[in-house]
Amino acid sequence: MKLLALLAIMAMLAAACGGSDDAASDGTSDATDTAADDGSTDDGSTDDGSADDGAADDSSTNSGLEGTLRVLIHQNPPGVEFMENFNSEFEAANPGVSIDMTVVNADDIPTVNQTRLNAKDIDVTTISVTGFANAVQPYMTGADSPYWQQLIEAGLLMDLSGQPYLANYDQAAIDGSSFDGGVYALSLGRTSYSGMFVNEDILAEVGVDIPTTWDELVSACEAVKDAGFKCAVAGGQDAWPVFVGTYGLLGSLYPDQQALVEGLWDGSVKWDDEQGIKLFERYDYYANDMLDAESAGLTGDSAAQRYAAGDVAFGPMGAWNAGAVADNAGFEWEYIPFPGSDDAADNQTLFGKDDMSFAVAADTPVPDIAHAYLAAFSEPDNYNAFANATNYLPTQPTAALESALGTSIAPILQAGNFAIGFEQLFVQPKGAGQWHNAKDGALWMYNGDFTDPAVAAEQAQADLEAGLAG
């Protein structure tokens, strides 16, 4: 009898400790809005953030769809606001559907995707904010696959090939979301990280033109400093904004970024050759002469606002800062490719990346709703509103940025001078040391990790070769 009583108590305890399967889906509704800088898309809004009314209605009114769609996006205030409105309209157009959206910090996207895809706890997810450019190539012997490639190879992402809404996007967006013959994501926008804002009023007052070469940039910088202005600011406190500006320097000295990646892997290009040392010398000037000391106390966001105050000539920042600049600047400005080369012809291209990309879980229980959701989102009017809300460079050919940024860079984009940058193409050799990737070189010089550009270049090459040696 005592034994039976004991077993009954243990059974009750076990039952009490057990969890309901429902908890998995219920637990997804709390947004983990960390509001931390993600460094990639945090821009100001140039739109009211409203989803276009017609978009959701057109695709699926009275669709008969029923179920809950679990969606994951990353923190980006105008983007989140837009998606919340879009979700409401999608739910209104599909009364049987509810959207359960989670917001995470961009840095947490890999971890959250890994856990939630493993747990079959997500349907439509922001799989990446960097695109699919850095797949391991055949010549990258022994390199580890990036996480998005691991997810595709594991069969966790649905191949979207053949879905009609893909036709709304340009071919580069499709190519940038493809792997091994399949299309595994929907690239919702691009962003440029290699340009800089130019305060035209300051340059006019000082009497210099917008620089088109490195020497002109240095001369302009010295001239504005002599005139009592600051040359440039960046978000030194957050560290990463320091090297954001110099992606353009890397891009202008190595205009063919894909060739640079291959050259580094096959040894035909070295970080410590003549061009490499020139790169590091310019990093040094950028970090320690061009950037004002005030940069050390600025975050990525506050640097854009500080730049907009009007006494700084250049703002080497990502295009996502355009909203903050446009909202606060009382001066005429342009966003131009960073003039890092001595040859103006090499300073024409904006480098950047595919940014926010939606993917669908391969084993989602609601594939019809997921496709309807993406189809509604991809309606041209809705997408155009999204691009203008977030300031993403559009991936749909019919969309156009109506903002000041859009006006500024329209000639560059129309000339086809946008390219995926080194960061999105490079895959590190296994065993390479921590200094192997010279794209971060400006930050090393800024932090004082190195004081001699030649030494930094040699260390970068040595750490790269340690990995290449296998």
Partner: protein, 308 residues
């Protein structure tokens, strides 16, 4: 029959199983949650596991350990991280131990406002790492932060968490965050010292330092030993403040952060390498075990000296 019942506390027959049945839930839970993952980590360390459902897992033998310790410049960085972990442990243990002891001595005095100071000293302990990190990022903000202003008074400049000394600023924050806990353990120990020992020592003419050296310090042996071990183990495993304050940055990472970054795609390779990270965590475990055992030996010797 009587002899049998004397041998078994819960009686004979099936009743002899009661202790085991009572033990089973707790033991099972411990095996499942504590021992199981630890053993799994050890097994994983010999595989190329990614932690991603659907990807095959292959046995790679000692390859992860070989790569972590011996291969390429990455192994040099790992050894650097290992050295940095030991420096972190040594500085945190020594300073936190000393500071906690001094704080405990101060708030153990019968002074006005001591309860307020006890609370103030302990408050950082109850803050989460994210809050601690945010506070110190603001405090150490170059160009306008309070510490910048203090440095400016002396004509000094520093980039603090963005500069080459970032690692040492994290040590400062770690000590600030945990010294209150050390203080509380010391304080609890001090309050168990019988007052008559102080009275007897005072009658013998002991004052000040002599009272501390000959009464307080020996009587604090359990608290000293506890703090010593907790500080060593805690500092060896600390890495979250690095995540919050500096991020994954060359020249600042400690071993615990390397484990996290490799496991969850936070390195520049952005791959999930949980087998490799498991090997790194086993190395960290062996380090903690070795230093913990050494510290335990010191502690045991000290207990024999003072408590026998």
């Amino acid at each position: 029959m009587a002899a049998s019942q004397q041998q078994h506390l819960f009686g004979g027959g099936r009743q002899r199983l009661y202790p085991w049945l009572l033990l089973f839930p707790g033991l099972g839970f411990y095996l499942l949650i504590g021992v199981g993952p630890s053993l799994a980590t050890a097994v994983y360390s010999f595989t190329d596991a990614t932690g991603i459902r659907g990807l095959p897992i292959s046995w790679v033998g000692w390859d992860n350990y070989d790569e972590f310790i011996f291969r390429g410049a990455r192994s040099r960085d790992n050894i650097d991280a290992l050295q940095r972990t030991l420096i972190f442990m040594a500085l945190v243990t020594i300073v936190q131990f000393g500071l906690g002891l001094v704080m405990a001595l101060l708030v153990n005095q019968k002074l006005r406002g001591r309860l307020v100071f006890r609370t103030l000293f302990f408050v950082p302990v109850i803050l989460g790492v994210a809050v601690q990190g945010l506070m110190w990022k603001l405090f150490l903000r170059p160009g306008g932060g309070p510490m910048h202003e203090i440095f400016s008074l002396f004509g000094l400049e520093s980039q603090f968490l963005g500069g080459p000394n970032a690692f040492y600023w994290v040590i400062v924050v770690q000590i600030w965050a945990n010294a209150g806990f050390t203080m509380v353990i010391f304080l609890a120990g001090m309050q168990t010292v019988p007052a008559d020992l102080y009275e007897a020592a005072s009658v013998d003419g002991a004052v000040g330092w002599q009272l501390f050296r000959n009464v307080t310090w020996p009587q604090l042996t359990p608290a000293v030993n506890t703090n010593f071990l907790l500080n060593i183990v805690g500092s060896l495993q600390a890495w979250m403040l690095f995540l919050v304050l500096t991020g994954y940055r060359n020249g600042t990472n400690v071993l615990g952060y390397v484990v996290y970054a490799e496991a969850f795609g936070q390195t520049s390779a952005s791959s999930f390498r949980q087998g490799y990270a498991a090997a790194a965590s086993i190395v960290l475990f062996l380090l903690v075990l070795a230093l913990g055992m050494a510290a335990n030996a010191v502690v045991a010797r000290r207990e024999r000296k003072y408590m026998s």
